[in-house]
């Protein structure tokens, strides 16, 4: 059973046990426009909340995607190296950015649920 959380920075975090998959929301990809490059992290990289984990590049600009919680990156979405536009076409699916092992699951309590996130972007 997984649960999905959201951040004020327009990321989603799908949690199963102590691991999570992270991506950006549909709203975020619409704001960014067509992505042409995603700078992916190395597996094993340890991140703190607010650290830049990934940089997504549109035709026009580079934008940071932050780690929503503390943890260790266990996998980056290698498919994005050849097809960064997956983030545009399937932001909540095949366009996921990275998977991480959570350092402290209690940090999830500070994140938004789907209803609160919908309210944020309304």
């Amino acid at each position: 059973m997984s649960k999905t959380y959201f951040t004020q920075d327009h990321e989603w975090i799908r949690v199963e046990g102590d691991t999570a998959t992270v991506g950006i929301t549909n709203y975020a990809q619409e704001q960014l426009g067509d992505l042409v490059f995603v700078e992916l992290p190395e597996a094993g990289k340890v991140v703190k909340t607010g650290d830049t984990a990934v940089v997504v590049e549109s035709v026009k600009a580079a934008s940071d995607v932050y780690a929503p919680v503390d943890g260790e990156i266990v996998e980056a979405n290698a498919a994005l190296s050849s097809d960064p536009a997956l983030v545009n076409s399937a932001p909540a699916g095949d366009g996921w950015l990275w998977k991480m092992k959570l350092a402290d699951t209690s940090q999830l309590d500070g994140l938004l649920d789907a209803a609160a996130y919908e309210k944020l972007i309304a």
Binding site: G33, D34, V36, F37, E39, V59, K60
Partner: protein
């Protein structure tokens, strides 16, 4: 005016109903993208045609017996070489030959010219032209116009079908199709196309007539930037500034040979001195190796990490199919094919000096 103190385009409602996403540029609230998005907009322009609202750019009419003289004082320009209807890319220089702005000047009559200036420099340009006009018999009049660009291989056919007879125009020529209108065959995408300035009262109707053709769609400022970058054209404020002179900017071609060793234009002696001395750095095209874009502001280094220049504009070139950039490098490294490196967030990205443009110009030269 918007809440942010930005100026709104006269046709803003039209852009809103077309679904534009707006952003700030040079004090204006500009359509950055429309629903198709920057990639599709860019490719559509190169494949068919795009309509751009460039009303943020400023037109100045220069009129009077000394109109030519005024322009020859402000710019390295030989107006006697400009026949009626002919346009010329030129530069507004300061006393140090720094580039205040780049302009297109078109002769409309014996004593009448049209100047097209960049949005961000319009006030400065107007003030400078007026100051230089002191003591001369020439009036500098800023015009309020809606200014549209139609760019792409289908542009000429679309314009003809809309009822405008511009068949006689070739690249860098212009005319006044009717009172208050001004039209040139030019643009800033590397494609064939036109720029048309019309009074506000005619604007919405013109846009509607043009857009009746399915091959034409609105294109935002984001694609305008990627198109001009692939075409190797300078963005003033990024690739050329008051701190760069035409020699290092590789724009000597824009200056008539007869004026290169001296002229009456502002900055003439500084320019000749810079030309004699040769530039320490030079503007070049840059092709990053791989897919990662290299943006304006990135430092360029040699293999050993010594700084050798900087990137002034960069992004992804949808038609080129790879990242593209423009920047300045030490003259010794300015030849095409030279391998240097860009510092992107601490990573050394290999970059090759590349000839400009990245995508061939397809102007209709007649």
């Amino acid at each position: 005016m918007t809440d942010d103190g930005l100026k709104s385009l006269p046709l803003e409602d039209l852009h809103k109903s077309a679904g534009a996403r707006f952003g700030a540029f040079a004090g204006w609230s500009m359509p950055l993208t429309y629903p198709p998005g920057v990639l599709k907009e860019h490719l559509h322009t190169r494949q068919h045609a795009g309509l751009f609202d460039i009303s943020h750019m400023k037109l100045f009419e220069i009129e009077g017996p000394d109109a030519g003289r005024l322009l020859e004082t402000a710019c390295p320009l030989d107006t006697s070489a400009l026949s009626r209807g002919q346009s010329k890319y030129t530069l507004l220089l300061n006393a140090d030959a720094g580039i205040i702005d780049d302009l297109i000047v078109t002769r409309l009559g014996d004593h009448r010219f049209m100047v097209v200036a960049n949005a961000g420099n319009a006030d400065k340009d107007g003030a400078r032209l007026k100051a230089l006009a002191a003591g001369l018999n020439a009036a500098v009049t800023p015009l309020d116009r809606v200014f549209l660009a139609i760019q792409g291989p289908d542009a000429a056919d679309i314009v003809a079908r809309s009822g405008i007879d511009a068949a006689g125009l070739t690249f860098m020529t212009g005319f006044e199709p009717q009172p208050g209108w001004f039209m040139t065959r030019s643009g800033y995408t590397g494609e064939d196309g036109f720029e048309i300035a019309v009074p506000l009262s005619d604007a919405a109707d013109l846009a509607e007539r043009l857009l009746a053709d399915d091959r034409l769609m609105w294109i935002g400022l984001a694609a305008r930037d990627s198109l001009r970058l692939e075409a190797g054209l300078c963005l003033h404020g990024n690739d050329i500034t008051e701190e760069t002179d035409p020699v290092e900017a590789a724009l000597v071609w824009a200056i008539p040979k007869s004026l290169r060793e001296g002229g009456r234009f502002e900055g003439a002696s500084a320019f000749s001195a810079a030309l004699d001395k040769g530039p320490a750095q030079r503007r070049v095209g840059l092709k990053p190796d791989g897919r990662q874009p290299v943006r304006g502001g990135a430092t360029l280094t040699d293999e050993a990490g010594n700084p050798v220049g900087r990137v002034t504009s960069g992004g992804f070139g949808p038609s080129a199919g790879h990242p593209v950039a423009i920047g300045y490098v030490s003259t010794s490294l300015a030849s095409a094919g030279t391998r240097i490196f860009a510092d992107v967030r601490g990573t050394k990205v290999p970059v090759d000096v590349h000839s400009l443009p990245f995508t061939p110009h397809r102007y209709r030269k007649g």
